[in-house]
């Protein structure tokens, strides 16, 4: 076990190996785990997520991981939610049926369809490469440091987070005649709707920034 490592939460709902490979590419040790002490001792935690919200929440509960996530957050160490992982940290989601989330970021997860006009030129699921527009003008070191406005990120989703507090929104992405929250940050908790592990060099930069957050 390396001294400093990122724990990638293993709950049967994520492309964990891809995230591990991407972390390796930026020089970070990681373990794919659902072991409580390994989660607790990690220097950072990634909550991946591929799948449907209700099934993923059920898995987290079944594997008794909710408390581990909450304790990790309380420790002040960095946590990154990716795609569905980002959504799970919200209060609730309306995917299939209204389901409670981890209640960490205030707001709901809503369907992209509900955000756009019925005659929109955009399809759902939203699949493909899009830019993000940073809402943060400060020069603070953050998740998006050194990403430029020309970077594209890979999205594949039918739902998106709608944080209540504007301050939590770090970046948005245009979608037809509207936009959705593509990155949020609140204290040590961040979430990205895109897949940094699948977004080429641009995504690797974001993962590197995440790793550097607690250095």
């Amino acid at each position: 076990m390396p001294n400093s490592y990122t724990a990638i939460l293993d709950y049967d709902c994520g492309n964990t190996e891809s995230i591990q490979n991407a972390l390796r590419a930026v020089g970070q040790n990681s373990v794919i785990t659902s072991d409580k002490s390994k989660i607790k001792n990690a220097s950072s935690l990634i909550l991946p997520g591929v799948g449907a919200f209700p099934a993923a929440m059920a898995k987290l509960q079944e594997k008794d991981l909710v408390e581990s996530i909450c304790r990790f957050i309380d420790s002040g160490k960095p946590l990154l939610g990716i795609c569905l992982g980002m959504q799970l940290l919200m209060d609730s989601s309306s995917e299939f049926e209204e389901t409670k989330g981890l209640n960490v970021i205030n707001g709901k997860v809503v369907s992209l369809k509900s955000l756009i006009a019925s005659n929109s030129n955009r399809r759902v699921p939203n699949i493909g490469w899009y830019k993000i527009i940073s809402q943060d003008n400060s020069s603070l070191k953050n998740l998006l440091s050194s990403t430029v406005q020309d970077d594209f990120f890979y999205f594949v989703h039918s739902f998106a987070c709608k944080p209540i507090w504007k301050n939590d929104i770090l970046a948005t992405t245009e979608f037809g005649d509207t936009s959705f929250c593509s990155v949020y940050v609140k204290d040590n908790i961040s979430g990205v709707q895109f897949h940094p592990e699948k977004s080429g060099k641009s995504g690797l930069k974001v993962l590197k920034n995440f790793i550097d957050l607690n250095v």
Binding site: N21, R123, D150, S158, S202
Partner: protein
């Protein structure tokens, strides 16, 4: 209004450990090592990779896992895996080893309920309905399975609609008539299917030159194209294709 960025996707058909190429889904020919090709396309700015195991469905085997494990070490773009997926367990194994989406053809036709189960478990966005279409004598298209070997008497348009309502998040639409011919996409097929359904449609089969992509994009609302020969035989690079698309005012992701 913010537009969709057209996706350029490399399609790699796999048999055993080899990247192969066929014409009209028949007459397989070995090209080389799939992982080497996938890695080159990634470096050149490909938007996605599709691996289809051509014989998995026939033999019930799946060698994709080993290939995926290798590819995801160096390739950081989405990978769709297909061929021989029959159960939630099959799908989970591929997703766990690096696939981002799974493409289902034969098993969905045999058991349409599988699409719904997969969508419930993994989310619609990672369920791709892979449709093999062959023009019939009634000016329509028929669904084929088993890599173009077996007819189903199903109408492609109806089946595409059914797949979307069952929970598929994307359609990978292959024209058997055009596949491997380098004579352009089946524009009528792509136009009809992409305007009939709301989920993204990826066109496959027939790409020979960049103008074929331009014609495709200008005549239908497909979200991307899966291309094989022109890349595998190094007739064009991803960069050349995208530069030409931009000249034709088609929005694509530019890889810095």
């Amino acid at each position: 209004m913010n537009q969709e960025n057209f996706r350029i996707i490399a399609r790699l058909d796999i048999k055993g450990a080899n990247l192969i190429k066929s014409v009209n889904l028949e007459g397989l020919r070995v090209i080389g090592d799939p992982n080497t090709h996938a890695t080159d396309y990634y470096k050149d700015g490909i938007d996605e990779i599709i691996y289809i195991d051509c014989v998995a469905s026939l033999y019930g085997r799946n060698q994709l896992v080993d290939l995926l494990k290798k590819t995801v070490k160096d390739v950081f773009v989405p990978i769709t895996a297909g061929g021989g997926i029959r159960t939630l367990k099959d799908a989970r194994e591929l997703l766990r080893n690096g696939a981002d989406k799974i493409a289902i053809n034969t098993a969905a036709v045999d058991n349409p309920d599988l699409l719904t189960k997969l969508a419930r478990e993994f989310g619609s966005q990672c369920v791709v309905s892979y449709i093999e279409a062959k023009k019939n004598e009634n000016a329509g298209w028929e669904v084929f399975v088993e890599n173009g070997r077996q007819r189903t008497y199903k109408d492609v348009l109806n089946w595409a609609l059914e797949c979307a309502s069952l929970g598929a998040g994307e359609i990978l639409l292959t024209s058997i008539d055009k596949e491997g011919t380098s004579t352009g996409f089946d524009l009528e097929l792509c136009s009809k299917v992409s305007s009939a359904i709301e989920i993204p449609v990826i066109a496959s089969g027939g790409m020979g030159r960049v103008q074929d992509l331009v014609d495709l994009k200008n005549s239908s609302v497909v979200s991307g194209a899966a291309i094989a020969d022109v890349l595998h035989y190094k007739k064009l690079t991803v960069e050349q294709i995208k530069a030409e698309m931009v000249k034709n005012k088609i929005q694509v992701r530019i890889y810095a």
